[in-house]
Amino acid sequence: MTSKTMNMVQALNSALDNLMASDDRVILLGEDIGTDGGVFRVTEGLLAKYGPERVLDTPLVEVGIVGMAIGMAVQGLRPIPEIQFQDFIYTAMDQIINQMAKIRFRSGGEYDCPMVLRTPYGAGVKGGLYHSQSGESYFAHTAGLTVVTPSNPYDAKGLLVSSSQGDDPVIFLEPKRLYRALKQEVPEDIYKIPIGKAEVVQSGDDLTIITYGSMVPTVMETVKKNQINAEVLDLRTLVPVDRDAIMHSVQKTGRVVIVHEAPRTGGFGGEISAMITERGIDFLYAPILRVTGPDSPVPYRMEEYYVPNEKRILNAVNKVMESA
């Protein structure tokens, strides 16, 4: 299998290309994804290659893009709609929560809805309140949705392929800050990374740092720079979360820090924390700490104060290590 150095945008593009080449049921739709190749260029070149029947520049209507994709999926296609920024997905929330997530259940399994809803999320590109949100908890809270967020180019491609070839609808959250942040060798051919499996990015003994998506590089830089003997878990899939990987690591280290960019209250970190205490409070030597975005909107100028950074992660690590 030949590989190429790719950033996340290129890896996602390669995944879409492979998926479209191997299955004519795969259809892309969204705003500016055709002629323009998407505002982040994820769909660049695909219109030229696959034509306007398979790469649809749609009118500006999120509820319509999602709703139309659902109809396509119900009728046997494998649509991959794009919402230009996750912040604009909210007008389509009814379609996501009340249609997409519930079609299999409400039809007694007669109908299904295999599709991937891709959208860039998170801060770090100076987008202010409306181009920076991390809304993963809204989706994680809805039964029927699978929620995936990659943290690097290699995973992004493999996870997107798995998401599109699965049986149920997937919310695919792309950390836009990492779109061009790092490059990796990525196979040009199609490959899969399983849904529901976390990755041990680094093994270690002193504590477990659980993170995902946009925060993984920040956590890794912090851990490396400060020579922390931490086991770092990249969840990759939030729903269904990899219980075994988490519990296995917690049992080994007995100390946990959870890092995510989304606001703390109702954030996914709370869910992981509850899950660990419910089934493994005896393993713990210290309270579980969360390092998260604050319960405030993402600001434009002072963004660096919003997103968890080395200092805040280090503080939390030191605190859980101090507990007896």
Binding site: I27, E53, L56, T58, P59, V61, V63, G64, V66, G67, M68, A69, I70, G71, M72, A73, V74, Q75, G76, L77, P79, T91, D94, Q95, N98, Q99, K102, I103, R104, F105, R106, S107, G108, G109, E110, Y111, D112, A143, G144, T146, D167, D168, V239, P240, V241, R243
Partner: protein
């Protein structure tokens, strides 16, 4: 055109028209049965379809077997005319173990993939964008079928109505939007729902908008047939403003006397069934005896089927947690173990 009209008045149309009338009568009979069963506590809830029979049957007459329906909670007459077994409807109302959706949805939310009737959601009009997507899939596969999507007059105020109409027009999709304009959205009259006639809205999307007499099944059939033919021929979508009347309450939980005086009562001149009977007798397709026979058969069928379905046991509790995903997640498995 002339030739076609001549052909229509010919005897060969008789079976089709009789079948349409029979479906309307069956639906009306079932409607009344369910409403009275609800009053007796044998059914939890229901949205009656009384008054909308001719409208729906007229549309259904113009459909082909493989055409898709993305309908709403009041589409019983259409389902019956399409051939959906009456048991499918009753079992759904009962939420019993024979229900397609295993008792998961409240009454009036039907599913029948075998008859290409997409499962019904509650949020008004969110089936419209789906209909556009389904039509896209048909077009993409070069199938000659069309999608019918139905909704009420209230639904025309929603963002999803706008989204679905606009997308279907922009992509020139084979969709026919059938507004079952029964004059009311629960307590809000259509005059307060919108300041224009619903058919006029079509022009904002660049599609034809037609007004049809939804109380006359033959008129409705003709209107639907034109729109469906256009869609099938690749000419794009049409909006039909199908004028009718909600003869019953919005639902069994509603008391319309709080907000209106009923304008169409059962058995009156305006009742779509009475209009249908007049049409059939004036064409010499039926006499009183035949009409009586159809009515009696409907009563017999409804009573028998209703009683039989009522005896079907409730679903296995486990089914309440299945089909969330193709394979149950570990989280749900864990919760189910605790619950059951």
């Amino acid at each position: 055109m002339e030739q076609q009209q001549k052909k229509e008045s010919k005897q060969s149309e008789k079976p089709q028209y009789i079948r349409a009338y029979a479906a309307m009568v069956l639906s009306r009979t079932l409607d009344k049965k369910i409403v009275s069963a609800q009053r007796q506590g044998r059914v939890g809830f229901y949205t009656p379809t009384m008054g909308q029979e001719a409208l729906q049957v007229g549309v259904s007459m113009a459909l082909e077997k493989e055409d898709l329906v993305y309908g709403y909670y009041r589409d019983v007459p259409m389902m019956l005319h399409r051939g959906v077994p009456i048991e499918t409807i009753i079992n759904q109302i009962m939420g019993n173990s024979a229900d397609t959706a295993k008792g998961r949805q409240m009454p009036s939310h039907y599913t029948s993939k075998a008859f290409h009737f997409m499962s019904v959601q509650s949020p008004v009009a969110s089936n419209l964008p789906l209909a556009a997507g389904a039509a896209y899939a048909l077009k993409y596969r070069k199938k000659k079928n069309v999608v019918i999507t139905t909704f009420g007059d209230g639904a025309t105020s929603t963002p999803d109505f706008h989204a679905g109409m606009n997308l279907a027009a922009v992509f020139k999709l084979p969709v026919v939007f059938v507004c079952e304009n029964n004059g009311w959205a629960i307590s809000l009259p259509v005059e307060r729902q919108t300041m224009v006639e619903i058919s006029q809205k079509a022009s904002a999307y660049g599609m034809p908008g037609i007004k049809a007499d939804g109380m006359n099944f033959i008129e409705m059939y003709k209107a639907a047939r034109t729109a469906i033919q256009d869609a099938r021929a690749g000419k794009g979508p049409t909006l039909i403003d199908a004028l009718s009347y909600r003869m019953g309450p919005h639902s069994t939980s509603d008391d319309p006397s709080k907000y209106r005086k009923d304008e169409v009562t059962e058995g009156s001149e305006k009742d779509p069934l009475v209009i249908g009977e007049k049409l059939l007798t004036s064409m010499d397709f039926a006499d009183d005896k035949l009409l009586e026979k159809i009515r009696n058969e409907a009563i017999k069928t409804v009573d028998e089927k209703f009683d039989a379905c009522e005896k079907i046991p409730p679903p296995d509790p486990l089914t309440a947690f299945q089909d969330v995903y193709k394979n149950m997640t570990w989280m749900l498995e864990e919760e189910v173990k605790n619950i059951l």
